[in-house]
């Protein structure tokens, strides 16, 4: 087992809830006792629906917001113990890619300035080599280096996300956290960026934390998956096992709800996610769970298992799971025709 690059231990964060005139009215436990470990060179996906705390968790791990409790170990060093100055220096090792490439690039900086900024900030290369390094980074993410003098508004969403990735790679980080990095992109462009991320992860040996609600993308690139619901992890394990044999009723419902599986009449989860201000006692999923019993309201189920863990009192007595699977109607003909697209990519070398 490789040593973890990033380890989170019992991380917790609450946000105060205020009424209209600013009086404190309780707190949202956005992240409530999360422990995770990301081995070096692997991809961990954090999935869940809006409000489950996955984005907060990503920001806590980078200390972009401060945790209330817990430890964040990067290569064994607790980031929460670092001074502001030491943290700033450590930031070159960890980068964040945001969802919205229209908001994450400064419109007043050319592509070259945007990508060079982290180079200069962390003293990665001497000034004289800056332009050359920027050109290398741009071609690394599939953009022609001649585009360096252009402004962000001249690029499409997919190209901007490539620029954001080049910027994240500039400081030669060990860890990249992507918060819905492809969710804002159209599906054909999304495939380009997913392929790019996959290549970069493999070729640069990156450790990647993918925060996403898109289970198809997660299945495609993650080694392990953690499923969050209302601030807690309900299931965690190797991607293939979590998708093939989900052990928590919430994971099962989430997988069954993905459209395109050809069973439009599968049992649906009832109701909405409860308010995180006043979450249900015991197991937080019990109000929507078809298998809930009295015990579920009384005791918080522990996250149990060897390599594939789930937090459900009845995980060993649930009916057999149905694996998530897309209806496969196009068959061999479709796969052979699609190969023409893949071949074209390799021929053109992808420089956009």
């Amino acid at each position: 087992m490789t040593a973890p690059l990033l380890e989170l231990r019992d991380l917790a964060k609450g946000f105060p809830v205020r009424d209209a005139i600013g009086r404190r009215r309780g707190a949202v436990r956005a992240v409530d006792g999360v422990s995770l470990s990301v081995p070096k060179g692997s991809v961990l996906a954090i999935v869940g629906e809006s409000g489950c705390g996955k984005s907060t968790l990503g920001r806590l791990a980078l200390r972009l917001i401060e945790a209330d409790a817990g430890e964040i170990l990067l290569e064994g060093e607790d980031l929460r113990g670092l001074s502001a100055r030491a943290l700033r220096a450590r930031r070159r090792d960890m980068q964040l890619i945001f969802q919205d490439p229209f908001a994450s690039l400064d419109p007043r900086m050319t592509v070259e300035q945007a990508v060079a900024e982290p180079l200069r900030l962390h003293g990665i290369v001497p000034r004289a080599q800056e332009a050359q390094r920027v050109a290398e980074l741009l071609s690394r993410v599939g953009l022609r280096p001649e585009l360096a003098r252009r402004w962000p508004h001249e690029f499409s969403g997919g190209q901007r996300q490539r620029i954001a990735i080049a910027r994240a790679l500039a400081s030669q980080p060990k860890l990249i956290i992507g918060d819905e990095p492809v969710s804002a992109l159209d599906v054909s462009v999304q495939a380009q960026v997913v392929n790019l991320l996959q290549d970069l992860i493999r070729e640069l040996g990156l450790t990647f934390v993918l925060i996403s609600h898109d289970l198809g993308v997660v299945r495609h690139i993650a080694d392990r998956v953690a499923v969050m619901y209302l601030g807690r992890i309900v299931e965690e394990g190797p991607t293939r096992q979590v998708f093939g044999n989900p052990r928590h009723p919430y994971t099962r419902a989430l997988l069954a709800a993905v459209p395109g599986q050809g069973h439009a009449n599968a049992p649906l989860l009832e109701g909405d996610i409860p308010s995180p201000i006043n979450p249900p006692s015991g197991c937080r999923f019990r109000t929507r769970c078809p298998y809930a019993q009295a015990l579920c309201a009384e005791q918080v189920p522990p996250l149990e298992g060897a390599s594939h863990l789930a937090a459900c009192h009845f995980q060993n007595s649930l009916p057999p799971a149905v694996a998530g699977q897309d209806a496969d109607t196009g068959g061999e003909r479709l796969r052979r025709l699609q190969a023409y697209f893949t071949d074209q990519t390799q021929k053109t070398g992808e420089l956009a």
């Binding site: 054909s188 609600h213 495609h220 459209p259 395109g260 196009g330 699609q338 697209f341």
Partner: protein, 328 residues
Amino acid sequence: MSTPVLDLARVTVEFPTDRGRLRPVDGISFSVEAGKTLAVVGESGCGKSVTALAIMGLLPQGGEVGGGIRLAGQELLALTPDQRRARRGGEMAMVFQEPMTSLNPAFTAGEQVAEALRLHQGLSPDAAFAKAIEMFRRVRIPEPERRARSYPHQLSGGMRQRVMIAMALACRPRLLIADEPTTALDVTVQAQILALIDEMKRETGTAVVLITHDLGVVRDHADDVVVMYAGRVAERASAADLFANPQHPYTIGLLGAAPRLEGGAARLASIEGTVPDLMHPPPGCRFAPRCPFAIAQCAEQPPLADITPGHQAACWRAPLDSLLEQAA
């Protein structure tokens, strides 16, 4: 054969701009029958939402519609603005992607549904409010009496979209246009809303135009499909045919670009490049610059032609199967 509820014939939409005329919709035709769902699928900028707005008569100022749009046999483009307004809400209704922007924040959810009923069905205020609560129950909003008295900001995203569907279906319209109705919602709530639209369609016989970018949604909920690319129809078929035997290279690429739940392909079949600038579209087939099958002939616009009965594609090279035979 009965008259389709909606019939579009060579519809174009144009906007005058500073840089010349922009034509986001360039000659599209399709029809939908009662009780059926037609999915219009494509990526941003393909013209699918503009088409929806053109049908509803809700295009922004300056938009000019050409061709023909018939609702139950009647030409909508020949009507006066007042006559078209009278049909909105009653005969044809629309559900948008973001329910928060479509609901008036100053009125309760129940009042807004009741207003539609007063206007189009001439109900008294009390009767309309009672019917609104009944509609809330039908779309399975819990505690309908209380929610009818809630303001939009007091409801969750899924609940607001249920209110929109209740409002759209309250007057039993012949046609419901749902423009990305679940894109802003979480996947478990999305499944509920789409199932609800299916159920309502079965009950009332409403024809549904479902606009989406999600091929998975199309697979589970559509009877027929129109695939749009850069303002034109690339392919048109029954949903079963489209997925079993896609003919247009764009459709084939799109199907390969979405990662699969059971894993599989090491690399996704990405479509290189980006959609064309509609101010300067490429001549001929608009997909040709990104198409691995493109040949010289593609510099001319291919007609939307039958490849197999009832299954049309606008591609000179379709059916592509002969290519596979040569390769084998």
